[in-house]
């Protein structure tokens, strides 16, 4: 597809025909099987679907955090439209096939083909990720402060040195200390009388950055929190720490993989408010992964509905919730409690997600679909546009059939 200039400026990431498979003894699991979507600047894109449909695998692909092997990148690309002025620390000079266009001040890279060193510069800096269980995402043996400071040491060395009143003339050991690249004798070197003062200035600078990041997430007493260990914190507090860590470097994209699933409802609401608030202030794009449709409706600008490794419907919040076109989307929505459903009347979609091992050429939802026809059993529906922003992968015209 050709892009015009306005489009090019608009999207921060473009997932194109992404395929991630897993080799298992019983065959190849098509966990993500050819999905495409754009992430626009500053938006919240919801990625919904039942457990096992490939949401987490999609999210992790952005940062090359897939377990490979057994995983296999079977095709596709994730183009990241990097705004060069917002991340000067990443060396310019682009991958072959992604001309560095000065006119737009954008640089395009394929996140899937970056080398280890290149993707590490992006992780936590311009693309960050929060995981499902805050209790397990923090290292139990390190203090909150130590864990948060790693982000800054990794990506903000120059800024730290500057804050500490040091420039390019900082001694090698101090520079390595401020970038977590300690060599074997640095432990002693930084404590030499000549270095000890500068070292403590660096530590102070890092602590200031960490305290600032924590106070942005409205935790009470951020400075005290830094000396705490994760087990001393509540679940909601841990997730705030994770959010502070993820947003520390002002990322372009935040991948939030069910960040509130492990929390209780009141805490969930506050965490959602926090993410929204920080995102709007910083113009961060959020890919919000969830199995909870009502939650997605509440916070997302656009929604992609996933089923069995595919996107079956994608559109704006209004289009998906006011005018759903895919039988699966409709089924999910019927399973939601709303004002006009009586208690106990929730309708779960009958049947289970089909096995993703070597799926046959047919609609993957056909085994559970009330509208299935012979065509559905013999052909694989592709995403087709309903409107400019709304696409559906289904042969039936559901609106007509259901009279909705």
């Amino acid at each position: 597809m050709m892009l015009d200039t306005s489009d090019q400026k608009n999207f921060v990431a473009k997932v194109d025909d992404l395929k991630v498979y897993f080799n298992s003894k019983r065959g190849t699991v098509h966990a993500v099987d050819g999905i495409s979507f754009d992430v626009y600047k500053g938006e919240t894109l919801g990625l919904v679907g039942e457990t096992g449909c490939g949401k987490s695998v999609t999210g992790r692909s952005f940062l090359q955090l897939l377990p490979i092997p057994p995983g296999v990148l079977a095709g596709g690309s994730i183009t990241y439209n990097q705004q060069t002025n917002s991340s000067q620390r990443i060396e310019t000079g682009s991958k072959p096939g992604f001309p560095n266009s000065r006119n737009f001040e954008f640089k395009k890279v394929d996140l899937l083909t970056l080398t280890g060193e290149e993707i590490r510069k992006i992780r936590g800096d311009s693309i960050a990720m929060i995981f499902q269980d805050p209790g397990k995402s923090l290292n139990p043996t390190l203090t909150i402060g130590a864990q948060l400071s790693e982000v800054f040491l990794q990506h903000r060395t120059e800024e730290i040195l500057e804050m500490a009143g040091l420039g390019s003339e900082a001694p090698g050991a101090i520079r390595r200390f401020a970038s977590q690249r300690n060599r074997i004798f640095d432990k002693w070197l930084v404590n030499l009388s000549g270095n000890r003062l500068t070292k403590s200035r660096v530590e102070k600078a890092v602590a200031d950055l960490v305290a600032k990041a924590l106070s942005d997430t409205q935790v009470p007493n951020p400075v005290k929190l830094m000396d705490r260990y994760p087990h001393e914190l509540s679940g909601g507090m841990k997730q705030r720490v994770m959010i502070a860590q993820a947003l520390a470097c002002n990322p372009d994209i935040l991948i939030a993989d069910e960040p509130t699933t492990a929390l209780d409802v009141t805490v969930e609401a506050r965490i959602l408010d926090l993410i929204q608030d920080l995102q709007q202030r910083r113009q961060t794009s959020v890919v919000y992964i969830s199995h909870d449709l009502s939650l997605v409706r509440r916070i997302c600008d656009r929604v992609a509905v996933m089923y069995a490794g595919r996107i079956v419907e994608i559109g704006t919040n209004n289009e998906i919730f006011k005018n759903p076109r895919h039988p699966y989307t409709i089924g999910l929505m019927k399973a939601l409690p709303s004002a006009d459903t009586a208690r106990g009347e929730l309708l779960a979609i009958p049947g289970n997600v089909p096995e993703l091992i070597n799926p046959p050429q047919m609609c993957r939802f056909s085994s559970r679909c009330a509208f299935a026809t012979d065509k559905c059993k013999n052909q694989d529906p592709q995403l087709e546009k309903v409107t400019n922003s709304h696409s559906v992968a289904c042969f039936a015209d559901v609106a007509e059939i259901s009279g909705k």
Binding site: R123, G124, L138
Partner: protein
């Protein structure tokens, strides 16, 4: 609870534990045989036996005997060593130094080599280094020490004739002073490369025999703990921050994998101490283990009681150190209870 309070509390309990241990040790040795067995012979008349019994206070109630023994121990009098024909307190430090040198050499190597091998293998799961380490670990943990020791002795001492036996060469021993009793340290203090090399050379086979099993146990534990930790979410979270794989491994996964490994290291210490008996006998190493074995055979209670009391207290202290290191690594420990 603060870490400092935790340590203080543990230290306060320590004396009571030691008293308890000493009572158990005393009781066991009284049950285990006559404390004067080594001085008796068939030719003695009952009157002579009675006289010896009186000299050792055996006609008094047991608790008085215990108190007398305890009083002696507190004032540095550990009794008479029949097999060495000298006061226990005089011989003990020399034997202790010999055993400590052997145990420290194999223990330190086992500690660092075990952690290194375990980390190396765990980070390369199911690849060649992992398989090789597994062979080392399984053989180290399953080969009986006496068998492995004798095998090395036959090959390197008897057949090839390149390894020595005993603790040092007599002329080299006489050439320097021995203020510490640790021959490697003495050689360094005396600035004698020849003596140092001699000490290392004599240490080699016994230390390998003793350390192999411990290395294997630590490496295996470290490997499985690391494999488990590498699957935890916080490892991915650390990667998501942009940390290099080396840092993820060393600062995050290895630190956590050390927590369960520390406990095993504490247990390994017992394994090591027990091993000194076999190894000292095989290589004629003049340490506590060989001394103790001889005293068991001859029924020398004075030597035996001191050995058992000493090792028990040593165990208590090692356990304390392990717990403190453990609590330092994993702060959830101090909060518990």
């Amino acid at each position: 609870m603060q870490l400092r309070d935790y340590i203080l509390r543990r230290l306060m309990v320590l004396p009571f534990l030691i008293i308890g241990v000493s009572i158990v040790v005393f009781t066991l040795t009284r049950v285990g045989g006559s404390p004067i067995g080594i001085y008796l012979s068939h030719e003695m008349t009952p009157d002579e036996v009675l006289e010896i019994e009186q000299r050792f206070g055996l006609d008094k109630p047991v608790w008085v005997q215990y108190l007398q023994w305890a009083k002696g121990v507190l004032s540095g009098d550990f009794g008479w060593s029949g097999i060495s024909a000298a006061p226990v307190a005089d011989v003990f430090p020399l034997k202790l130094a010999a055993t400590m040198e052997l145990a420290a050499a194999s223990g330190l190597v086992a500690l660092f080599l075990g952690i290194f091998l375990g980390t190396f293998a765990g980070a390369r799961r199911n690849r060649a280094p992992d398989h090789i380490t597994r062979i080392v670990a399984v053989s180290g943990a399953s080969l009986p020490q006496f068998w492995f020791g004798i095998l090395l002795l036959i090959v390197f001492w008897a057949n090839l004739g390149i390894a020595p036996i005993g603790r040092s060469d007599a002329t080299v021993f006489a050439s320097i002073n021995h203020p510490t009793g640790l021959y490697t340290l003495d050689a360094i203090l005396a600035g004698s490369p020849r003596a140092f090399w001699d000490a290392i050379w004599h240490l080699m086979l016994p230390a390998i025999t003793l350390g192999y099993g411990a290395t294997a146990i630590i490496a295996r534990m470290m490997r499985s703990a690391l494999v488990e930790e590498l699957q935890q979410d916080y490892v991915d979270a650390a990667r998501a921050k942009g940390l290099a794989e080396k840092l993820v491994l060393k600062k995050h996964a290895r630190r956590n994998a050390l927590v369960p490994t520390i406990t095993v290291i504490g247990l390994t210490f017992g394994f090591l101490l027990q091993g000194t008996i076999t190894v000292e006998i095989i290589y004629r190493w003049p340490g506590l283990g060989r001394w103790m074995a001889a005293s068991v055979v001859r029924g020398d209670q004075g030597t035996l009681m001191t050995y058992v009391l000493f090792t028990s207290v040593l165990f208590l202290i090692v356990n304390l150190i392990v717990d403190v290191v453990y609590a330092n690594l994993d702060r959830r420990v101090t909060l518990g209870k």
